[in-house]
Every structure is written in C-alpha cells, then in structure tokens.
Symmetry: C2
Subunit: 287 residues, 2 copies
C-alpha cells in the first residue's frame, strides 16, 4: 500500500533503544519527515548541532518533549520547575523547534484544585520566556489514570479552559488519542480548541485490549480500540494541518529490533491513520 | 478512636476469600450494618434464605452487584444481556434489596457512541421489570481506563445525562470515588445528580500511589490520594443519606488474614471517612 508520509512524525522515545543519530538516519531513510525530540535523547550533546544534524536529514523538529511538572507542596520545588521549563524553552529554540510539550504534573499530597492552580501559575510565569524565544508551550491533557502524579489536566475541556484563561499566542494544546479517546465531549472540545487557534499538536498510538501496564503498554495504531482515523478527521476539520506524531511507550516494542518496529509503524500509519481505499472509493471512513 | 458504624457497608468482594456466611458473621460482629452482595457470593445458594440469613445478622442488604454489560456487536448477546439483567433484578428482590448496580459494559470492536446507545436501550428494556420488582437500576460510571471493555459510561456527567434521558424513578446512579475523583466537574455533577433525585449509592476506597494493577490494586481509605471525606461531604450536601460502601479489589489485601483486613477497614473508615476531631473542634475538614 502506498501512502503519503509527509505528515508522519515519530517521537524519539518511540524508538528508545536508538540514539538520536540512529533514529534520525533511520527515520529519514524510511521517508519520514518529522521528529519530536525527548530531552533525554539530547543528553551529552550540543543541542544546536543536534538540531542541524536533524535538518540535514530533512527532518522537521516538530517539538521538544517535555516541560511541565509544575505542582508541588514545596514552593522551592515549584520555583525549580519554572526554571526547568525556561531551560526547556531555551533548548527548544537551540534545537530549532517552536514547541515544547508540557506534561503538567500533579502532586498527590494536595488537592487537584491546588495542583491545577499551580500549573496555571507555572505556565503564566514561563510565557514571557516562550514569547521571547518564539516557542509555544503546548499543554497535553493526560488520561485520568495519571491524575495522581503526572498531570492534573485530564480532559481537553480542562486544557481549553486553561488556554482560554491564559489567553496567549504562546500557549497551545496537544491532542493525544491515548489520553482523550474515551471522552464523550472530545469532538466538541476539539472544535473549540481549533476555533481558539490552540490546536498545536496531534499524537497517535492505540489502546491495547487488554492493557497490561498503565504506562508502558501502548499499541501501534490499529492494534487497539481507539478510533484514530475518526479523531484525525475531527482535528483536521478543526483546522489542524500539522504532523501526526507517533508516540508509543512500550516495553514490548522496545525489546524488538527497532528497524523492524519502524517498518511496523510506517505500515500501521498507512493502513490505520491515512485514509484507506474504502474511503477514497466510497466516501466511507472506517472507525 | 470511636466512630459511628451505622452507615458502613462492605461489599462481599472486598473480603473475597470469605464465603458470604463468614462475611455476614464477621461484619455483624464488627458492628457493621450494611452489606452489598456480589452475585458470585450467591452461587449454589437459595437466594431468599441467604437474604434472611443476612437480616438475622442485622445487616441491611444495600445492593446487589452487578448487572450491566449491555453492549455487543452481536444482537443475540445484547438480548442475553438484557435477560441476565432481568435475572439480576429478580435476584435482588429475592435477596431483599432494592438496588442492582450496573457496570454498563463496553465493546472495543465498535464505537463508544454505539456502546452508549446500546446501554441506554438495554436499561430502558429492563426498567419495566425493575419497576415491577421495586428494584432500582443504579448506573455506576467507571474510570476512563475501563472504557475499552467494562464501561462506556465514564463520567458522572454522562451518567446524569443518561438518567435524565431515561427519566425513571427506577434508575439511579452510584458515585464511586475510585472512578470519579479526578473529574474537575465532580462537585457540580454530584449536585446535579442529587437535585435529580438520582444519587443512589456511594462507594469508597482509595487510589494508591503508585497503582500497580489497573483492576486489583485498590487501596484502603487514607492510603492514597483521593479526598474521600471531601467527596463524602459533597454527596451529603446533595442530600445523600445512604451507606458508605467499601468496595476494594486488591490482590494484596485478599492475601491477608481477612479478620485483620476487616479491622483495618473499620479503622480506616473511622479515621479517614467519618469526620475527625479536627473537624468537630475547629470546623475544619482535612482533605
């Protein structure tokens, strides 16, 4: 099956066993045009040179993952988190990308309400730096099963509320199908997000049935029960024209030969994310 | 610490290693006044005699768990599910309880929208039986991490929508802190639920940090990050006067001596669910 890979992006964490240099080479050879860089992949490297290396492979650096983790009961830690987010903004600019994805954080020892307030305050504190660097702070709402320690922002409605309250061109939102697929208000909140001009990123993978690990058992698109194509249609109808970013954490796939895994990603992308022949011929779109 | 146990109910599944006869005896000896019976606990027993036995222990049978699981791609299976729910209603009446809890079900091979429609249709089909038996069908919204196979009803807002659409005195809603604690709209949806007269049940436990199993790692109240007391205040303010039902699935606790586990439940209930002295003396309520 042929397929247009011009909007395919892969997160470095998806092929975690590869160093970023190997990832870049292999993604490029597979015809992939986008890469999202996790900060651990930059360790011990000159960041601007790494950005240059990626561009030499004709890879657009879609975003840097990740900032966030603002809440804490300890005001010193909250300050350190803000500083770390400023560093992330700088690193993004050095790398040559205009987006930092935020996993906002949560503190199980305080109320979610308090954590949500600290997230808003934390992002507000970093906005001037983001503006100066030309980097968008992209709030990623996380699945409610991560509300204890990873993110107190758990629905797109919440992320929309927060982006509207912050009211800055330097704040955006990432729609990740893994976190949001279950939400009965997803379609309308995607519309709202697009209307506000806040729909900055689209992350894809699948929810395996059964899922055996809450963090590290994500599936390839088509392998689970998420209607990835349906959600893709919604984000496109809301005006999104960016990359489809494959973000898979998987102990299973990380154990495999990563070249074979990359082949599977490309195949799954063609078969389960791009519109298929049934759609082209009959105007019908599979769920 | 003293504490009023008159509103404490325990689900038979919480002390799964015990037969229902042992559970009844031990709950009663501990001063517990309510029991919710899981259907597996009734296997091989005369149901009305079992109900009589529970009442002889001065236990009120708060509900029967569980009906539901309506969605399927296969219309034959959907019909069988409706029949099974009618049986659950009969069993509840025989047992002497006026409530069946519904874990509504989900079918990963079809859209959530379709599953939600099938749930509504399934409940509607059982309402006449519920009315005839004097048994309330109580929708329990489940955590979004169960949206693949256990329930397509994942927020209290959804359950409220559905109960309002069904508009029957024989439909209610169970608020379970484990499933709903993360929801930023929880307080307002509890109010709405109470205003509608639909707040039928209140289930408690805790969300452990970290949670190592998606199904069988629930914690005792106070052991995790759920503000159980806060949510209890909300349901009471919404007019709820029923039992606080302890529903814990835990491989860890099921391995323990169940008498010691029961002591821990009673202690956790007193210390983390009932208002504590700090509240009584200072009007302050701990989160």
């Amino acid at each position: 099956m042929n397929g247009d890979l011009s909007k395919l992006c892969i997160h470095t964490i998806t092929t975690k066993p590869w160093k970023i240099e190997e990832a870049a080479k292999n993604y490029a050879e597979a015809g992939i045009k986008g890469i999202t860089v996790w900060r651990d992949a930059l360790e011990g490297r000159n960041i601007s040179q790494t950005g240059k290396m990626l561009r030499e492979h004709n890879l657009e650096v879609v975003s840097l993952c990740r900032g966030g983790f603002f809440p804490s009961k300890d005001p010193v830690k909250r300050k350190l988190a803000i500083e770390d987010n400023r560093r992330a903004v700088e690193e993004a600019a050095e790398l040559g990308t205009s987006m930092v994805v935020l996993v906002c954080g949560a503190e199980p020892d305080q109320s979610l309400e308090e954590s949500r307030k600290q997230i808003r305050d934390g992002i507000a504190a970093v906005i001037p730096d983001a503006a100066a660097a030309g980097v968008k702070l992209t709030i990623e709402p996380l699945h409610p099963m991560y509300a204890d320690t990873r993110s107190a922002i758990n629905t797109l409605a919440q992320a929309n509320d927060m982006a509207e309250a912050l009211k800055s061109p330097w704040v955006g939102i990432a729609v990740d199908v893994y976190h949001l697929w279950w939400d009965p208000y997803l379609e309308q909140e995607i519309k709202r997000c697009g209307k506000n001009g806040n729909l900055s990123a689209f992350h894809i993978c699948d929810w395996k049935v059964p899922t055996t690990d809450m963090l590290l058992d994500r599936g390839l698109m088509g392998e689970g029960c998420i209607p990835v194509r349906q959600i893709k249609t919604w984000v496109e109808e809301a005006g999104f024209e960016g990359f489809n970013e494959v973000e898979i954490f998987s102990n299973t796939y990380w154990k495999e030969d990563q070249s074979m895994f990359l082949d599977k990603i490309v195949k799954a992308y063609k078969e389960h994310v791009l519109y298929d022949m049934d759609f082209v011929l009959n105007g019908k779109q599979a769920l």
